[in-house]
Structures are given as C-alpha cells and as structure tokens.
C-alpha cells in the first residue's frame, strides 16, 4: 500500500508545484483549496498519462511504474524550477490578517469534527462490509480497472460487456489500475482509499474556497458531509463523487476569476477548462457540465468582447477533451445504456410531449428531493436550493455561477429521463440520489456564499 501511496503522491506533488509555478492560488487563499487542487489534478493528469501508456501497448507492470514515476519526477523538477524563477516577482495577494478564532468558530469547527468522525466511521464500516465497493463499482469501475491491470493490450475486451457501460469515461478505472501497478497487486484498499479521498477532497475544496478561518467554511463542510448518500458514495468506489469534485473545483476556479490579477486570471481560466474536461473524463454528466460551462463562458466572452477568455478556457479543456472524444469515438463508440435504443424520431417526440411522463417524473423527483440525504439531512436539498437562490438574488457571484450551471445540468438530466426507452421510474429512482450528489458540493458552496463578492460589470 505504501507503493500505491507513492503513486498518488508523485503526480499530486508535481501538480502542487505547477500550481505554485503559475500562481494559480493566491497565498491569501486556503491551503485546503490548494491541496484539493493538487491531489485532484494529480489523479486526473495521471489517469490521462496512464491511458496513453495503455493505448501505446504498455502493460501496467514494473516497467510502467518506472516510466510513470520518472515522468512525474521530471515534471516536478521542471515545475519547481519554473516556480523558483518566478519567485523573484513580488506577490500581490493582499491577504487578510488572521484574528484568533471566536467561540462561534470553535463551535463550527466542533460540528465539522463530529460530522467528519461519523463520516469516517461510516466509510470504514462500509469498507469492512463490502471491500469491493457497491454494485456499480465491481460491475463497472473496478472491473474495467481489472481489465486494464490484468489484460495488457487486451484490455479493450471489456468493451464486449454491454452491461458494464463500455463507453463510460475512464478516469476512475485508470486511476485504480495505475495504483494497483504501483502496489504490484489488486489491493481492495486502493479503490476504497481513492473513493474516500474524493469525498475528503470535496470537503477540503468547499472549506478552502470559503476560507478556513471563517466559521461558515467549517459549517459548509459539515453540511456537505451530512447527507447519508454522500458518505455512502465516499465508500461506494464509483464515479459520482470524483465527477462532483471536478465540477466543484472548476466552478471554484471560475468564481475566483474576477478577483484575480491578470496573470492569475489567465491561469484560472485555463484551470477551469482543465478541471471541467476532467469531469468529462470521469462521467458522461461531466461532459454535459463541460458543454454548459463552455457555452456560458463563450456567451459572456462574446457579450464583453473578450473572446480570449474563452480561448484560455478552451486551451485548458482541449487536451483532456480530445482524449475523451477519441476514447468515445475510436475505442468505445457505444451509446450509454439509458440511450442505447432510443427508438424512432416519432417515438422520441412522443415522449417529449407526453405530459403524463413529465408529471410522473416531477412527482417522483419531488418526493425524492424532500427526503434526499437520509434521516439526519432530510430537507437539506430544498434548504440548500432556497439558500442558493437567496444568495444569488443578493448578488453573490459564486451563487449565480453555480446556479447558472446546476439548473441547465438538471434540465439535461430531466431530458434523459424523458427520452430514455428504459423504465422511467426505475431510471429516476436509481440515479436521482447520485446525480444530486454530483452537484451537492457546488450547491452548498453557493448557499454559503451569501456575503461574498457581488456581481460587477467586469464579471463573467
């Protein structure tokens, strides 16, 4: 397991040095955010390089580990030197002077600590009961990781298993297979630790984005952790939390653009594009997120005559997006199961205009939304939605960004529920909780952003 941890640390450290070299995160911003960006970026970038190695016919054995580790060490040295050469220029971060924590701060931190302890205990007990994860983990994600790890260049045989969603993106599976290669064995702890880590990084990003010295940051972290489905997914070894992580980090990069200086602003646009494309490399819903954010950024850039903003964002998105497109077009040109046999155009149009279908979905979604989160956090979803809308109405830029993306994202989910040839009630009831969890951290961040920077004419 120590070797697997080394495999995690190397790309994360390189990404941390890259973040420092390009000045992506201001020194006044929380280290929790910087850490979340570094580890998430490290996992994302290394999944792409692993995929490239595998496509070049490299077996995930000791030779791969040596080559992979060499790449990350070399990049780390390069980014360290870049950071050193830039360290001569003075930083203009304008950090706040930290004041000692008040009793309210300690209360918020205590609530966070208690929630975290419960979450860790839940994840641990899930692991003991189901070390291979939940159904989708061993039917899809870990199964693909086994093919990547065991089959060498024959890994594409997995595409013959229709029920294993052959065209689902590969970030989770390649990350697991890569760390198995470092460990030299298929340790169940590898996907389990990665799964829990995605949850921890989400919380770290939310707390960091709201500035860890503020009580609301710790409260927001506790709220993110509270729903039972969040901790369940942190133990599930599936792809919903990592998708939510990259969605969240991309939005955090965008919300910080207007406050950044010119150099950091460019870096933020690029990073937002990279992170959005990594969401697309994680789950199909991430591709929809990528399209929505790209559309908003292009629209904003055209309105303000600043097309270079979109150019920077696109430059960040293109490398991973191209990999995803290549995978989906050249390697796994299969429609997802929920749209694999959509029927005739007349049938699709009929579904769109079937009022009873919309009513049935609306009724089911309404019931599930009310009780989403489990007994402890029941009502959290409508509460967070109301708080987000209020924050947006008060002019919070972060809330507007988040809602401007989450609303069309849910419209897209709704469209799939309407158009699918599968049993609609079954599809909604088996996907709703997970889909909400993908945007839950961004929604909580929006809800707690009231009082943040307000929208100005220079905003996106």
């Amino acid at each position: 397991m120590i070797a697997a941890l080394l495999g995690l640390v190397l790309p994360s450290a390189s990404t941390w040095l890259l973040i420092r070299a390009v000045g992506l995160v201001a020194s006044s911003e929380s280290g929790a955010l910087r850490a979340a960006l570094a580890v998430a970026g490290g996992i994302g970038f290394s999944s792409i390089t692993t995929f490239v190695f595998v496509c070049l016919g490299v077996r995930l054995g000791p030779g791969f580990v040596v080559a992979d580790a060499s790449v990350w060490v070399a990049l780390g040295v390069l980014f360290w030197r870049m950071g050193r050469s830039r360290s001569g220029s003075p930083a203009v971060d304008g950090g706040e002077v930290a004041s000692p924590p008040s009793s309210l701060d300690w209360l918020a931190r205590g609530a966070f600590g208690l929630t975290t302890a419960l979450a860790v205990a839940t994840v641990w007990s899930h692991y003991l009961a189901a070390p291979h994860g939940e159904w989708d983990a061993w039917a899809i994600w870990n199964q693909k990781a086994r093919f990547l790890f065991r089959a060498g260049d024959g890994w594409t045989d997995v595409l013959a298993i229709a029920w294993s969603n052959p065209s689902h993106p590969l970030l989770v599976s390649t990350s697991v297979a890569r760390l198995w290669a470092y460990a030299g064995a298929e340790l169940t702890a590898v996907p389990a630790v990665l799964s829990a880590l995605y949850g921890a990084l989400v919380v770290s990003a939310v707390v960091g984005a709201l500035h860890a010295r503020h009580a609301r940051a710790w409260l927001a972290g506790a709220v993110v952790l509270a729903p039972a489905v969040f901790t369940q997914l942190a133990a599930a070894q599936t792809a919903d939390l990592p998708a939510g992580l990259f969605i969240l980090l991309s939005l955090i990069m965008l919300r910080g653009v207007p406050d950044a200086d010119a150099r950091r602003r460019t870096a933020r646009w690029v990073a937002a594009g990279v992170l959005a494309s990594l969401a697309g490399w994680t789950k199909n819903e991430g591709v929809v997120f990528l399209a929505i954010t790209g559309g908003w950024i292009l629209l904003g850039a055209l309105r303000r005559g600043a097309v270079q903003r979109f150019g920077w964002w696109l430059a960040g998105a293109v490398p991973v997006l191209a990999t995803t497109v290549w995978f989906k077009v050249a390697i796994a040109p299969e429609a997802p199961i929920y749209m694999s046999d959509p029927g005739t155009v007349a049938a699709l149009v009929g579904r769109v205009f079937a009022v009873d279908r919309h009513v049935a979905i609306g009724s089911l979604v309404g019931r599930m939304a009310g009780r989403w989160g489990g007994p402890i956090a029941s009502g959290a979803l409508p509460g967070a939605m109301v708080a987000s809308v209020l924050a947006a109405v008060r002019g919070s830029r972060a809330a507007r960004f988040a809602l401007g993306v989450i609303a069309p994202l849910f419209a897209a989910y709704w469209a799939v529920w309407v158009l699918t040839p599968l049993d609609t009630a079954w599809l909604v009831s088996t996907t709703f909780d997970r889909l909400v969890c993908q945007v839950w951290p961004a929604l909580v961040l929006a809800a707690f952003s009231s009082g943040d920077s307000t929208v100005s004419r220079s905003d996106v």
Partner: protein, 93 residues
Amino acid sequence: MARLAAEFLPFVPFLPPRGEIGYLEKRGGNDDDTRTYYASQYALVPRVVLSRTGPEFLIVPRDTEVPGGDERLAGFVPVRTFPTGHRLFRRAP
C-alpha cells in the same frame, strides 16, 4: 460480493487465459442470479463471460439447469463440478 466472486476462482485453471466464456443464465432469474452472473465476470477478468452458449466453455451456475434435461446444454459435455455446485461444460469434440 467477495464471497460470490471467490466461488468462480476455481474455474480459472480450466479456462483459457483470455477470450469469451459462455454462461447459462437461469430462466426467470432474479437480482440474485444477475449478481451471480456479474460476480463470475468480475472474478474471471480478463476473460469475457457472455450470457450465451456460443463459446467453447460454458459456466452452469448451481440450480440453473432445467430439471429433466436442459436443451441449452445439447452438444456440451461436463468438465468439472465444483464444491459450490457450479459446473463447467465444454463443447463436445
């Protein structure tokens, strides 16, 4: 799941290292039967376990064969019965 997948590991020495393996699904099966089928695939990676009788080797999970003779097994001969009750068949030469 770990226990279920482990039930199929004894098949490994009798199967080719790669390629398609057939699987006889229970008629009118339930979620547990689907789980058993998926577990066999998870255990036997990098082989591809397909729910049909076309490949040379055929996995017949316990209690799957239709009593009194299952016509889907026509042309297959038994290779091995495992302690778990699962059986392996091979197409007759």
